[in-house]
Subunit: 102 residues, 2 copies
């Protein structure tokens, strides 16, 4: 399996991608931000993927953090749960979403 | 090992006990509430305990939830991260802490 290709494919074809774990409240919080905005997102639940740990390592090298959630908008990592909520509070999240061409 | 005895012993001799996982942001949030109040707490990191999963099951039967954090004040479970922050915001946490006789 080409995991790098899979991660790339996901973030290049889905405006909002949240790498998450189903058991994590911070991940639920990040998802809720987009739900409250009525914005669809793709959730990748790393605790349910066979190669979840490897994907987490890939995200670490891509984004500088081996944690969840890892939130991508328009192919770019905007950070984790904290950054997502902060951007929303500052009204800076919707402008980012408007740029999505897919 | 008598795990029930261990859990009982901990919550009966420490005013604030937080059953936690070191990797969990919600647990960090609960700890921060007490740190900001200058209140000492005992943290039990279930992901670092050999019998962590069993302790989590004991907490589930004691408190109704198999999640972390599980927060005890004066021997009573006040809930998780959400409840801890809510009580603090409502100014109801310090009164609970004043009752501690140990
Ligand atoms: N400040 C970060 C916190 C990220 C974090 O610490 N995530 C935890 C779970 S809440 C984590 O990934 N722990 C290691 C793991 O689950 O593999 C954010 O806002 O996303
Ligand atoms: N609303 C609860 C959420 C508790 C929760 O869902 N905790 C997660 C981690 S954030 C959990 O325990 N997941 C299962 C596990 O880690 O065993 C609270 O405020 O404490
Ligand atoms: S695991 Fe508890 S908040 Fe992420």
């Amino acid at each position: 399996t080409n995991l790098d290709g899979m991660v790339d494919g996901l973030i290049q074809s889905n405006c909002v991608v949240i790498f998450s774990k189903t058991t994590c409240s911070y991940c639920k919080m990040a998802k809720r931000v987009f739900e409250n905005l009525g914005v669809p997102y793709t959730a990748v639940e790393l605790n349910q993927l066979e190669n979840g740990r490897d994907v987490q390592k890939i995200l670490a090298s891509m984004t500088g953090s081996a944690t969840v959630p890892r939130v991508f908008i328009n192919g770019t990592c905007i950070g984790g749960g904290t950054e997502t909520r902060q951007l929303q509070k500052q009204g800076l999240l919707l402008p980012l979403l408007d740029r999505c061409t897919f």
